[in-house]
Symmetry: C2
Subunit: 144 residues, 2 copies
DNA sequence: TTTTCAACAGATAAAATTATCCGTATAAAG
DNA sequence: CTTTATACGGATAATTTTATCTGTTGAAAA
């Protein structure tokens, strides 16, 4: 459904929200290990979420690493999708038409409409922190 | 949502179902023009739907081209997704975990579950012919 | 102040996807 | 039978996505 970039971004954010805090920062090495992702590539992706967007915080040097503020943990999953540019993909038409709309729909449009609405609602409603809490409770996993 | 390959495959199949029949075959030139897609690439994709899968029929030579039998028009949209390898994507986990399942779910799994069910149902229920009929009536479009 | 540890930034590389080109095979038309 | 129009197949190229590497910067610890 999403690009690798977005998948790693989501998993990393969930893990950071789960284990990290301002006085317990997580290194990229630990993150890549925890979510089973390519380390360098994941580092690049985290730059999108720190520098560009402000979903994740980071500090270099000894005892440095990544963490999320309590406020950031309340952000919707959708904010990650925006940071990786996936919100555009999500809003696209099933048949790939640029100008598919209510007034000029593709054949799938009326049938897909309500599903797309549910998808957007899901990502806008669900917070990163909520997913992280679930993962911490041990009922769900972010690694194979 | 889908790859370009799948998008072109869907649009092409809908157009062929709409305009083509055993005694009115459509050339690749006409198809690419009608759905506004790169011609050579679309030709390659149609090979997946003719040689490999049997969703679309073809005949070379003068008055040759592509068409769909009435039986093939009754096939679900899902059969196109299978031909382009997209069914795998559709069955993938939101976070990209290979082994996300009911017994070892990712944090998105329980929340995405019902949406995924609707998506699969949509593609399994809807037929290529139905979409083509709608397009022929002029209420929906397969080109920008 | 110096050392050390970790993120940052830019360059580069590998792989997958998207796209084109051209000669060949095939079937119908003349 | 020859010509012609079309799909077929393989090779190749361009672009995008995924991934790695290396040196630099910044902040804390020593």
């Amino acid at each position: 459904m999403f690009s690798k970039t977005t998948e790693y971004a989501l998993r990393a954010a969930i893990y950071i929200a789960q284990e990290g805090s301002e006085n317990n920062k997580i290194s990229i090495v630990a993150i890549a290990k925890a979510i089973d992702s390519p380390q360098s590539f994941t580092a690049k992706i985290l730059q999108l979420l720190t520098r560009d967007s402000k979903v994740i915080s980071s500090v270099p040097g000894p005892n440095g690493g990544f963490y999320m503020t309590e406020a950031a943990k309340q952000l919707p999953v959708y904010s990650i999708l925006v940071a990786t540019g996936e919100d555009i993909t999500l809003n696209k038409c099933v048949l790939g038409l640029d100008k598919c709309s209510e007034s000029k729909p593709c054949p799938m449009h009326p049938r897909y409409k309500s599903i797309k609405k549910q998808l957007l609602q899901l990502f806008e409603t669900e917070t990163i922190g909520k997913l992280a809490t679930d993962a911490k409770l041990g009922s769900v996993f972010i690694k194979n």
